[in-house]
């Protein structure tokens, strides 16, 4: 057993540790790391080093030098720093280097020291300068936190979707906090800062004082804090040498430890091994290293997936190696080889020494129809590098026409984009292009373009129907589509408040319907105008609302109010069919209870709807007396029904017997009650027997 334990040394009472060298750093640094700005990327990524960043010397000869090393200290790239004063370096999750300047400008480089882009942390930072800065990683991406000279915090949670947040003021803050950290809780990023013996929590809207549970009151002032990578744990170090370890939510203490070292540590970090159940804090002073922790349960996931590993290789332009690994791991083409080839192609289009034709061919040769390859993405990269022609060539290899559209639009090849969008069958894409064209082209050219694209035209018309009614009219005009123009005017007449406006709109509709040779619609519209004018008169004459009523309801209302002459006039003027007029009139009269007028009307001429409706309507209004008047006038076929309706079963029976109709007899029988209608029932039964004998 000797050989296993020989190099293990005791640490405290129960634990042991050992030291061994994994590999030696290849670099030969002359400078003291203390004098450099240093940033190491997570997961053993590259290390950035900025030398000569001291503020005072500003001579051009002594410009700072930015160097990027691999984790093992191989120099990957370097450059002289010619921009502004740097305060902090940091790496994004995708291995881009963030260089944070004093004025709040953040410059982004890739790991070959090639400039990508820059952004600003806002005016407040610009004015008050960056005092301290931190780069942090959450599930939303990489973020930047700034403490300004005015002792205010500014945050950007995701630098790829920049939304600056200025945090509220910390009341009474006179000097920079002794230490601070960014926390991520419930999808919100917040700042925890320490001033002397007080801890403050800064969220979007407020600043509150917090006390960690189980914190010894004699612990002293905070001098250092550390948050675990997953934001779950927090460690606090005070000037009495006391360490508090707990959940970052400050809801639970995990353990505490007294180091009895009173000087402020250089560094304090959480140490958690994947899938290990142990978590601990490592604290470093100049010549001392301490590990504090307990061994409660803790689960941490293996974060660096195979995809990320491949990404890292691709970022380092080690394409062949990445492809080998994919093949070795038997990754599917889409996940593996195609993705790497696509990256290679994106790199390829940046090679300026080769002609468009050459590059396009080289790419197509290697990529072919490999599944998962997006030619449009490669083309987009080409366009970003200013190679429009190459981009168009590459797009031709893209089989999914829909994918070509966004880039074509960006390159201002709108008409080509339109045909591609239509080809894709994706309506939303067509909309995108159409509305894009609308803003880009003059109205005339826009309409002309649509003329040749019926699908697009129809979609645009849909849009106009809801959003731009006037344009709709222009479109129909251009087509000489008089039918739709007529409909358009009818539709607009709805929204006209004044009756003159309405008549005017309908008049326009009428003209268009004539042009469209739609006689029916023209006649209907003409009638509608006539009706509107009449309704206005009625409204004036009787001081009652008539507008918006149908012809039927207008006439009906007139009768209800006893204006029989006016009703008669409308009946003639609009050639209301007799049947309708009779239905309408007896209904209105019955509702009005004008039985006298109804009787008069029934005798005015032969009813076109017969007399059963008179019976029915009287019964409906509970007037059996009136109903009985009409029953005898009902045609013989309906007479049984009529007599039953008025409750005269005797006459009903007689009619049924006269008809020699068994169904009718049964119908009447079913209405007879044994107590009161015994005689009728007997009569019917006798007749039935007679009928059956024959």
């Amino acid at each position: 057993m000797d050989c296993y334990t020989a190099n293990w040394n005791p640490l405290g009472e129960e634990a042991f540790y050992r030291k061994f060298e994994l590999y030696t750093m290849e670099w030969s640094l002359k400078e003291d790391l203390r004098d450099c700005l240093v940033a190491a990327a997570p997961y053993g990524g590259p290390i950035a080093l900025l030398k000569n960043n001291a503020r005072k010397e500003k001579s051009p000869s002594a410009r700072p030098l930015l160097e990027i090393y691999s984790a093992s200290g191989l120099l990957l790239a370097s450059m002289l720093w010619k921009s502004g004063q740097l305060v902090q370096l940091g790496w994004t999750a995708s291995e881009d280097l963030l260089c944070i300047q004093e004025d709040g400008t953040v410059l982004i480089y890739n790991l070959f020291c090639e400039f990508k882009r820059h952004f600003s942390m806002g005016n407040e930072v610009l004015q008050n300068h960056v005092l301290e800065a931190k780069v942090f990683h959450t599930e939303y991406g990489t973020g930047v936190a700034i403490l300004t000279g005015a002792l205010r915090f500014s945050l950007a949670t995701n630098i790829d979707d920049l939304k600056l947040r200025r945090m509220p003021e910390v009341p009474g803050l006179q000097k920079p906090p002794s230490c601070w950290a960014v926390l991520s809780q419930d999808r919100v990023t917040i700042v925890l800062l320490a001033v002397g013996q007080d801890l403050y929590l800064l969220d979007n809207t407020s600043c509150s004082v917090v006390t960690p549970p189980g914190m010894s009151p004699s612990a002293g002032a905070y001098v250092q804090m550390a948050v675990s990578f997953n934001y779950r744990c927090l460690a606090l170090f005070t000037d009495t040498g006391y360490i508090w370890m707990g959940l970052a939510t400050l809801k639970e203490k995990l353990c505490e430890f007294n180091s009895s070292i009173r000087s402020s540590p250089k560094q304090m970090v959480w140490c958690m091994r994947p899938r290990s159940r142990q978590r601990a804090v490592v604290v470093a002073w100049d010549r001392q290293l301490m590990v504090a922790g307990n061994s409660k349960e803790c689960i941490q996931y293996k974060r660096l997936t195979i995809e990320v590993l491949l990404d890292r290789l691709v970022l380092r332009r080690l394409y062949p190696l990445a492809i080998r690994i994919c093949e070795y791991l038997r990754l599917s083409e889409i996940q593996g080889v195609s993705r790497i080839l696509a990256h290679w192609a994106c790199y390829k289009v940046q090679q300026k020494d080769k002609s468009d034709e050459e590059v396009a061919q080289a790419i197509n040769q290697k990529l072919g129809d490999t599944p998962g390859i997006s030619y449009s993405e490669i083309a987009a990269r080409a366009y970003d590098c200013g190679r429009t022609e190459l981009a168009i060539k590459l797009l031709e290899y893209e089989p999914r026409s829909g994918e070509q559209v966004p880039l074509l639009l960006k390159m201002k090849r709108s008409k080509l984009a339109l045909s591609k969008a239509i080809e894709s069958g994706d309506t939303d894409l067509v909309y995108t292009v159409v509305l894009h064209l609308k803003n880009e082209l003059t109205r005339g050219t826009f309409f002309m373009t649509l003329q040749n694209q019926p699908v697009a035209l129809s979609l645009y018309r849909q849009f106009c129907k809801h959003q731009e009614r006037e344009t709709l009219k222009d479109l129909y005009n251009q087509d000489d589509n008089h039918q739709e123009l007529g409909n358009f005017h009818v539709h607009s007449s709805y929204s006209e408040k004044r009756i003159e406006g309405r008549v005017g709109a309908l008049q326009n509709a009428l003209d268009e319907y004539y042009k469209a040779k739609n006689e029916f619609a023209a006649k209907a519209t003409e009638d509608q105008i006539k009706l509107l004018r009449l309704q206005r008169h009625l409204q004036e004459d009787f001081d009652k609302p008539y507008l918006d009523l149908s012809l039927h309801d207008t006439v009906s209302n007139l009768i209800l109010d006893g204006h029989h002459k006016r009703a008669e006039q409308l009946y003639r003027e609009f050639k209301i069919p007799d049947k309708r007029y009779w239905w309408l009139k007896i209904n209105a009269l019955a509702t009005r209870g004008d039985w006298e007028e109804m009787e008069k009307f029934s005798k005015s001429k032969k009813s076109p709807i017969g007399y059963l409706p008179f019976v029915e309507i009287s019964v409906k209004h509970h007037n059996r007396y009136e109903a009985k008047k009409y029953a005898p006038r009902v045609t013989p076929e309906q007479r049984v029904k009529a007599f039953v309706l008025v409750g005269d079963l005797d006459q009903a029976a007689d009619a049924a017997i006269e008809h020699k109709n068994e169904t009718e007899m049964n119908f009447v029988l079913s209405k007879c009650s044994p107590s009161t209608d015994a005689a009728v029932a007997e009569k019917l039964n006798r007749a039935r027997v007679q009928l059956l004998k024959k």
């Binding site: 999808r187 599917s332 889409i334 599944p371 999914r400 239509i422 080809e423 069958g425 994706d426 309506t427 939303d428 894409l429 909309y431 995108t432 509305l435 040749n452 694209q453 019926p454 699908v455 129809s458 979609l459 849909q462 849009f463 809801h466 959003q467 129909y476 087509d479 000489d480 589509n481 008089h482 039918q483 739709e484 409909n487 009818v490 539709h491 709805y494 929204s495 469209a516 029916f520 619609a521 209907a524 519209t525 009638d527 509608q528 009706l531 918006d548 009523l549 149908s550 012809l551 039927h552 609009f574 209301i576 069919p577 049947k579 309708r580 239905w583 309408l584 209904n587």
Partner: protein
């Protein structure tokens, strides 16, 4: 109760996973928005809220965007600052963003998508809850929802494995199917190698069969829908049903022990069933009379709750039946059914036309009048010019002149047309058809196809034998075919097509019918799925209705399934009926 059916009908797949998916997605979206403290309906103005953030869960409609823009602009005017978030379901459309931009509020909102495509209404019904699909596609020729259908199919495919056979008829069915295949190819890998749970899929455009959707429904579930309107699988029974002063919301699905036994029945047999059921229930209650303490304890703890529940449901359905009876046993209704059957059979057309005319003259109901006119037109291949003019004139006089635009819509969609006037294309549309050169442009003319297209109902009906020959009374309690859902007068065309194609395992022998239906049929086998008709999943059929399906169709296919040992699962853009279809055609006053 009436038809026992075969015992070997397979079990449908479990939709639970679909429900969970939808719920989890929504919760995730809403939680991102922190706590939602109050829900408002977008249709009405939101009550004054002091909340500093608004979250809108909406369909991607231009009208809705303007509504939201109005709210934001009003807030701005009054100096309020709030956060606004719009969650589009099932997807965001560019045109919506454009409207927000034009209204000057695009910068004020953040947008999200809730890719919610499928709502399981019951054990065998999935709805996309897209009632606007019908008007958008069939009237406006707008293809935007086809993408949603394709994505819905993709989702089903990923959850329940590949379909071994795909059949379909209709232009939209074809486009949806093709777009879905494209999606599958792009996302190669997912769902592959899964054990199939659904063997066949049948896609059908609503315009393949308008007749069935226009008929009055007489199976119980259809009648409840026609009378009370079933929304999202539940119905509000008003005071006339509950015989109290309040309304009760009732979920209507297979979980309801009473409803599940009567939903597919012809209405005439429902009442008898319910009274038998209440006698049984009473008998079960009565059992407790002779019980000792221990038995009583068992009864109370184990049975009483179930009995009470059943009792409650029973009285609700009896109330619903009474309410329906009141409306439907009136003479008017009997006469209307008679007229409807004549139209289906093609007899006494003159008489039916007069009936419709009287219906209009007496202002019975604008929607019903319109429905009858359409039924007349579609069964007769259009109205003769004289009737066409006079019925429309009568209608305008009765129900108001604004319906002029409604008639234009109905003509365009092919529901109310004039007999073979030949050149029915308007100037613009004929221009469009002249311009058609490429594949894509071809799609638009098809949107207008309905204009020139005939329904050919009479000929199809004859070919497929849709009108059963009646010898004696049709026994509605012991139906012998799908015609029972229309009192034995008519076999629903849509269901008959599905039956025929499944029977023939393709369109072979149906060439003439396909021609009369204007083609666009397809039958595709997935070569990667092993084909063995003996396997259970092969007898599960996903029936997809693009533009809506009715409860009568569902009942008919359930019946067919029981007869033949199939199990149908329904996927529809929405549940529809004649009123909903007519309302979709009405040009509302803005």
């Amino acid at each position: 109760m009436a038809f026992a059916g075969r015992r070997d009908v397979p079990e449908p797949p479990d939709f639970g996973i679909l429900k969970r998916l939808a719920r989890d997605q929504l919760i995730y979206l809403l939680e991102q928005q922190h706590e939602v403290d109050k829900l408002y309906k977008v249709e009405s103005r939101p009550a004054l809220s002091a909340s500093d953030q608004f979250c809108f869960l909406v369909r991607p409609r231009i009208r809705t965007m303007r509504y939201i823009a109005d709210i934001i602009n009003a807030d701005k005017m009054s100096g309020r600052t709030r956060k606004y978030k719009i969650i589009f379901s099932p997807q965001k459309f560019y045109a919506c963003e454009m409207v927000l931009e034009e209204e000057g509020v695009f910068g004020d909102v953040t947008c999200d998508e809730w890719s919610f495509y499928l709502l399981p209404l019951d054990e065998d019904i999935i709805s996309m809850e897209l009632p606007e699909f019908f008007r958008d596609y069939f009237l406006e020729g707008d293809h935007r929802w086809i993408n949603s259908v394709a994505r819905a199919l993709q989702l089903l495919n990923s959850l329940y494995g590949p379909f071994s056979k795909a059949y379909g008829i209709g232009r939209c069915a074809k486009m949806s199917y093709e777009l879905w295949r494209d999606l599958e190819e792009e996302s190669e890998g997912e769902g592959q190698g899964r054990k199939p749970e659904i063997g066949n899929i049948f896609l059908m455009d609503r315009d393949t069969d308008y007749v069935t959707a226009l008929c009055s429904q007489v199976v119980y579930e259809g009648l409840v829908d026609d009378t009370f309107r079933i929304k999202c699988g539940s119905v509000d029974f008003g005071p006339d049903v509950t015989s109290s002063d309040k309304s009760i919301k009732v979920l209507l699905n297979a979980q309801d022990k009473v409803f599940s036994q009567i939903r597919n029945e012809h209405f005439s047999s429902v009442f008898g069933f319910l009274s038998q059921k209440s006698r049984n229930l009473q008998a079960q209650y009565d059992r407790r009379r002779g019980m000792d303490i221990k038995q009583m304890k068992n009864f109370v703890s184990q049975e009483l709750k179930g009995l009470k529940q059943e009792h409650r449901l029973l009285s609700l359905h009896i109330g619903a039946c009474e309410s329906i009876m009141k409306k439907k046993t009136k003479q008017d209704f009997q006469e209307m059914m008679k007229a409807e059957h004549s139209l289906l059979e093609g007899f006494d057309i003159r008489e039916s036309t007069s009936f419709i005319e009287e219906h209009i003259d007496r202002q019975v109901s604008p929607i019903e009048s319109l429905r009858l006119m359409c039924l007349l037109s579609i069964t007769e291949n259009g109205l003769n010019p004289k009737d066409y003019r006079s019925l429309k004139t009568q209608y305008l006089q009765s129900y108001g002149p604004e319906h002029l635009l409604t008639f234009h819509n109905l003509k365009r969609i092919g529901l109310l047309t004039e007999q073979s006037a030949g050149d029915t294309l308007t100037a613009m549309e004929s221009k469009v058809s002249r311009l058609v050169t490429d594949r894509a442009a071809g799609k638009i003319t098809d949107a207008f196809n309905s204009l020139a297209r005939k329904s050919n109902f009479r000929a199809i009906s004859k070919k497929l034998g849709l009108i059963p020959r009646v010898d004696g009374e049709y026994d509605l309690k012991m139906p012998r075919d799908m015609a029972y859902v229309f009192s034995g007068a008519y076999v629903p065309l849509s269901c008959k097509i599905i039956e025929q194609v499944l029977e023939r395992r393709g369109w072979l022998g149906l060439e003439e019918v396909v021609r009369l239906l204007n083609g666009n049929e397809f039958a595709v086998s997935d070569s990667t799925v092993e084909d063995n008709p003996a396997w259970d999943y092969q007898r599960i059929i996903l029936a997809v209705f693009l533009g809506g399906c009715t409860f009568s169709e569902i009942a008919a296919l359930r019946f067919l399934g029981k007869e033949r040992g199939f199990k149908f699962i329904f996927l529809t853009t929405a549940i529809t009926n004649s009123s909903r279809m007519m309302e979709a055609m009405i040009e509302a006053k803005a």
